[in-house]
């Protein structure tokens, strides 16, 4: 199982994602200017402030050369996980529905949150059971998930809402407490909290490991 973790200028959590993925399989960094996914079975678009969050978070990163490959890979069913800034990049790229807006408090918040697993059938949640609760840290200023109501209804109906903040755990004002969504086929998932920071009990929780384990379950 080979994971490819994208590295943009300004990415912060790519090494953490690399380390987390390495616990489950092989993991390599993919430079933003390259056109080569290096045979990755799964691609992770990591957290951080790619391109300084200039213009809009993720707005510039989505146009980097590596993202053309990621888009093609995703449309052919390849596994893609967008974490925080990565989620923003995937929404900007149109690989995921909706958009991420500034937190209602307008403040950056770093806090451990409980997430309810809503859909345990996506490529990134297969190792979970529906109703599982995962303790995972969230840290962002622009994480309020939004889509027009009809789109949200459709997402709910199609099972594209993958993770929700457990009662009392949401802090950014996300529509319907949505923490993570998938595309229609379920191979592309984006979430605001950081599973790569929940792989070691010593740093708080190992619940995040299950997302990486899920990807590894998918037969290559």
């Amino acid at each position: 199982m080979k994971f490819g973790v994208i590295q943009f200028p300004g990415s912060c959590d790519e090494r953490d994602a690399l380390a987390a993925a390495s616990r489950v399989g092989e993991a390599v960094l993919l430079w933003h200017r390259d056109h080569d996914l290096q045979g990755a079975d799964a691609v992770i678009v990591p957290g951080g402030f790619s391109y300084g969050d200039y213009l809009r978070a993720g707005a510039l990163a989505r146009f980097s050369p590596i993202m053309t490959e990621v888009e093609r890979f995703a449309r052919h069913g390849g596994l893609v996980l967008g974490i925080c800034n990565g989620f923003q990049v995937l929404c900007e790229a149109g690989l995921l529905p909706g958009a991420l807006l500034p937190n209602v408090s307008l403040r950056f918040v770093c806090r451990q949150v409980l997430l309810d697993v809503v859909n345990a059938d996506t490529s990134w949640t297969r190792a979970c059971e529906p109703g599982d609760q995962l303790s995972i840290p969230a840290k962002h200023q622009t994480g309020r998930y939004w889509a027009p109501d009809p789109v949200l209804d459709e997402l709910e109906a199609n099972g594209q809402v993958v993770l929700r903040y457990a009662t009392g755990n949401g802090f950014n004002g996300a529509a319907r407490d949505i923490a993570g969504v998938s595309n229609h086929a379920g191979n592309v998932v984006g979430l605001m909290p950081h599973p790569e920071h929940a792989v070691d009990p010593l740093t708080g929780s190992a619940d995040g490991l299950r997302l990486f384990e899920s990807a590894a379950l998918v037969a290559v």
């Binding site: 707005a59 900007e92 958009a99 807006l101 500034p102 209602v104 408090s105 309020r144 939004w146 004002g173």
Partner: protein, 82 residues
């Protein structure tokens, strides 16, 4: 030609920045202020102003959550999208 693009959050989407400013103004003694929205300004010299709408659609604004207005040159008034 010098163009100016004004980008603002779509009506109906919660704009906490706008709300924060709206709350702060009366505290400074400015009353009778309503409907504050905070957005972005992009200024640029362009050779072909006809490309501006496409620039807005593809990069400068996120049409899902933002409206934009183009000002300058042959493009008069708003090319606003809703």
């Amino acid at each position: 030609m010098r163009a100016r693009v004004l980008i603002r959050p779509k009506a109906g989407i919660l704009d906490p920045q706008g709300q924060a400013v709206e709350r702060a103004l009366p505290a400074l003694g400015f009353d009778g202020v309503r409907n504050v929205h905070v957005g972005r300004l992009v200024e640029l010299d362009v050779e072909d102003p006809g490309q501006l709408p496409a620039m807005c659609e593809q990069l400068l604004a996120n049409p899902l959550i933002e409206d934009y207005e183009i000002h300058g040159g042959e493009i008069h008034g708003a090319a606003a999208r809703s």
